[in-house]
Amino acid sequence: MAHSYTPGLTVTEQTVIHRRRMLPLPGKVLVLVGDRVQSDQVVARAELPGKVFPINLANQLSVTPGEMKGYLTKREGDAVAKDEILAENNPLIKWFKTEIRSPVSGRIESISSVTGQVLLREPPRLLELSAYVDGTITETIPQQGVVVQTTCSLVQGIFGIGGETSGDIVIAVTAPDEPLMPNHLTPAMKGKVVVGGSFLSAETMKQAKAVGVAGLVVGGIHDEDLRALLGYDLGVAITGTEQVGFTLILTEGFGTIPMAAKTFKLLSSHVGRKASISGATQIRAGVIRPEIIIPQLEGQARTAIQSQREGISLGDPVRIIRDPMFGRIGEVSALPPELTKIPTESEVRVLEVRFADGKTVVIPRTNIEVIEGA
């Protein structure tokens, strides 16, 4: 019965990660395998086709689509400037003249003799893809993107908002159970990744925006404050595109929850180092968790051992991820194989968790997660 457990979040001092950087549409890759790249370096570029503007010229000229051709001053593929004439008629009396001008600059994509529709397309927009982390290119996928490899310390969060950014790590609190208060945030923290403790209030978020921090990493927040920050109630956890002024990463969940000691200690040991962070979270259709990546300095990197966890065993460090003991951390002290009745009367597989103070509790196996990278 070792299979029904939730894979946990990784918090590890040293690992090798690969980040696949893919263009949303075919373009050009600008780097080669083996190149060293910086997080803000552009590694691939694509031209995003411009916006399309349809105009029904036949209607506007009051002719049938079949007759429209005779009135056009442009052909398919021609470039047009804004306000340039696309079509006109030549009436006997000048007053009745109709000229149809282009609403945008761009190119004529197509002219339909069935519907009378002319499609104009704006010039393409340049889309640049950055490396996101400092590292080495290990693979290039022609026209599509690259794979960047880096040896780093890695902290996965449980939930985040906001996109990719980077900054130096600053610890603003003295202990993992101390909430991050507005007065912890100083102007010197502009552009930095600020690590707090157990909780982040709405006032602190306001102050973070004012200071201009790049990112905030804390144990928990209240859902109400998140709603106030976003301006709407988040229904489905697909995030990463929010523009709230900073990237926010929760390591534990919603509520006031002390940051796991291991996470706090790891981040504390990297104060002043550059971290690449992303708040992008997607809990459905391919889990993406927010992450803090601290690349190792060159020369420091040792060979990391990658282990694939196959199940849960005695002594594994675990976090309880459901009330009534949400957020508590302990280790597995027993793995009874039989189904056990819990207070809801459900019969489920359980395990026993021992806390640091020696007390033990019985928890459904699905309600714990293994702290990975231990």
């Binding site: 299979h3 916006k51 519907t115 809990i283 459905r284 819990i342």
Partner: protein, 607 residues
């Protein structure tokens, strides 16, 4: 190959292993031939592994099957392979089959000309095939052309279905829509390099133009018009094409699915399509009108069969784990709280719901957590039925012949087909209903959410195996029916609910029940009362209900009704809470009412 064709299986099918790869968990069941009949014997489950770090759906499948191995003592796996066929009594299975809704299911975009005619037909075709419809575009949907194009660009569907126009009608609008789609150059959700599958099922006169415009830019498939004439829908050809393309294109792109398809002995079906097959089969076999619901982690599917017409809708963002927070956003906190028999502050509840969203595989451990989860389920079920009613309608835009008798009761075309008074059976499925610790909890969740009127039978999928049986029915009808009747369908009982309202304690109805042993029970049902009478699954009772004036059992105000009602593992539920169901607005009174009802039927363990 279409999904409806039976697959060739040359050896006898005595042992079958089936999985459903859901968005949260992969559920495996073992079916064995015991004597002359097929029975479901063991089950196992494991987290679905479409995601990192595994990114291979077959890992979850193998883990779930490994659980069955441990429980049954049968050796099914040889490394990463399933041993087929059976080698002996304790080794191998004869076939492996699967359904899937993992990775967000099949996401489609549909287009039509008139939104509530061909747009809706296209939507029904896609939904019936098991898809989630992420948008419906139509010539008259109120969006400007450039907005439509932007919308198509920004969405990344797995597939597009284009409909529009009756055969021989005007081609203009259909071609216009094809031009928009071509201009938007839509890209599929998975994979950068492959062409987006697109099905054209509109006016056949426009086929050449549509081919010219879209053939280069998409993997175009042309099929029969889904609305050849206004008065008739022809959804089957488009649905079959959707299934084919789902297997040929979409499945090939999702992580591990290629391997899964090789492992399976029959085509993999989208979960809702498989459940739909089962629901349709029940309605047909027993000549019933029914509503079926499958409430999952991410979505809630509603199926209905009324007057032989099958409909399915999916509420893509109503579910109990991934989408739980969206139930709160759509229903509102007050609507959820009205079902919770204690008080809890808003902040705590909101945080708890969000924590479930970010850790979707957790289960309630305490009674109050269970009660909150079941309160949310009631709202998810209620909202999903509202969505369903709006789409399960007659065809709109159809000319109606009227006579003088219609002067006082003219009805527009396109009325909802869902008539709670005609409803014979409610079938519930999905984790929260199938795995409720007490069956009465499933029954009351459905009664509270759907407010059945008159006499309505309720049942539940015992351990969530309808998807498995749906796909099994395509290869072995007998095995599917055997297991369905004996192990899957659990009849809960019948709900008897008079229509009308009154003050608590006032008379709602007089009743006389003749029980199977000939005993009669006479009594009065008061407003604000719930009464539960045991009546076993195979048994029937006759009930005569005499409502007072102003209250109806469906035959008219004050008219007595006599019905034969079926029992079940819960029994006969007399619901005097009135229809529509209204709960006290004031908090203390509401908690008192809930506590009274819950105690009356033994809903939860008492401390």
């Amino acid at each position: 190959m279409t999904i409806h064709e039976s697959s060739e299986v040359n050896h006898p099918l005595n042992v079958i292993v089936a999985t459903d790869c859901g968005s949260t968990t992969t559920k495996a069941i073992l079916i064995e031939k015991v004597g002359d009949e097929y029975r479901q014997t063991y089950r196992g489950e494991a987290p679905t592994t479409v995601e990192a770090p595994f990114e291979d759906v077959t890992r979850g499948v193998l883990n779930a099957i490994a659980e069955i191995e441990e429980l049954s003592g049968r050796k099914i796996l040889d490394g990463d392979k399933i041993i087929t066929p059976c080698l002996n009594d304790k080794t191998g299975v004869d076939i492996y089959i699967s359904t899937s809704s993992a990775g967000g299911g099949l996401q489609m975009m549909v287009t039509g000309v008139v939104q509530n005619m061909t747009g809706e037909s296209a939507q029904r075709a896609a939904l019936g095939a098991g898809a989630i419809v992420i948008d419906v575009l139509a010539a008259n949907d109120g969006r400007l052309p450039h907005e439509k194009i932007e919308r198509i660009r920004s969405m990344r569907p797995d597939m597009i279905l284009m409909a529009g126009g009756t055969d021989g009608g005007a081609v203009n609008h259909v071609v216009e829509m094809a031009e928009y789609v071509a201009a938007a150059e839509p890209r599929p959700r998975f994979g950068v390099t492959y062409k987006l599958p697109l099905i054209y099922a509109g006016n056949k006169e426009a086929q050449p133009q549509v081919r010219r415009i879209l053939e280069e830019k998409s993997a175009l498939v042309v099929t029969e018009n889904i609305r050849p004439v206004l008065e008739r829908e022809n959804l089957a050809p488009a649905r079959n094409k959707i299934h084919d393309l789902f297997l040929e294109h979409v499945m090939q792109q999702a992580p591990g699915y290629k391997k899964l398809m090789e492992m399976a002995g029959a085509p993999i079906m989208p979960t809702p399509a498989a459940v739909g097959l089962i629901m349709e089969a029940i309605a047909k076999r027993e000549h019933l009108s029914l509503i079926g619901v499958d409430i999952g982690g991410a979505t809630t599917d509603v199926f209905s069969v009324f007057d032989g017409v099958f409909n399915r809708t999916v509420s893509a963002n109503l579910g109990m784990s991934y989408s739980v927070s969206n139930v709160l956003a759509e229903a509102g906190l007050a609507n959820i709280m009205r079902w919770v028999p204690f008080t809890i502050d808003e902040q705590t509840l909101r945080n708890r719901i969000k924590n479930k969203m970010i850790r979707p595989t957790t289960i309630p451990q305490t009674l109050d957590e269970l009660q909150i989860e079941q309160a949310i389920a009631r709202e998810a079920l209620r909202l999903a039925l509202i969505h369903h009613k709006a789409l399960a309608t007659g065809l709109k835009g159809v000319q109606q012949e009227r006579t003088i008798s219609d002067v006082f009761a003219q009805q527009a075309s396109g009325q909802s087909l869902i008539d709670m008074l005609k409803l014979d059976l409610i079938v519930g499925s999905g984790g929260i209903l199938s795995h409720a610790p007490r069956r009465i909890q499933s029954m009351l969740m459905m009664v509270d959410a759907y407010e059945p009127m008159g006499c309505t039978r309720l049942s539940v999928d015992s351990i969530f195996m309808m998807p498995h049986l749906g796909v099994l029915s395509t290869i072995n009808e007998k095995a599917a029916t055997d297991v369905f009747v004996r192990d899957c369908m659990v009849y809960l009982g019948t709900c008897v609910a008079p229509i009308g309202q009154g003050k608590d304690g006032e008379l709602c109805a007089d009743y006389r029940m003749t029980m199977p042993d000939g005993r009669t029970i006479d009594g009065q049902l008061k407003f604000g009362e719930l009464k539960l009478f045991p009546l076993e699954a195979e048994q029937k009772a006759t009930i005569k209900i005499q409502p007072p004036k102003g209250v109806s059992m469906g035959a008219g105000s004050g008219v007595a009704v006599t019905k034969e009602v079926h029992g079940g593992v819960v029994g006969l539920l007399l619901d005097g809470r009135g229809r529509p169901l209204k709960l006290p607005a004031e908090q203390q009174a509401r908690v008192a009412s809930l506590t009274k009802w819950f105690d009356a039927v033994g809903l939860y363990p008492t401390p």
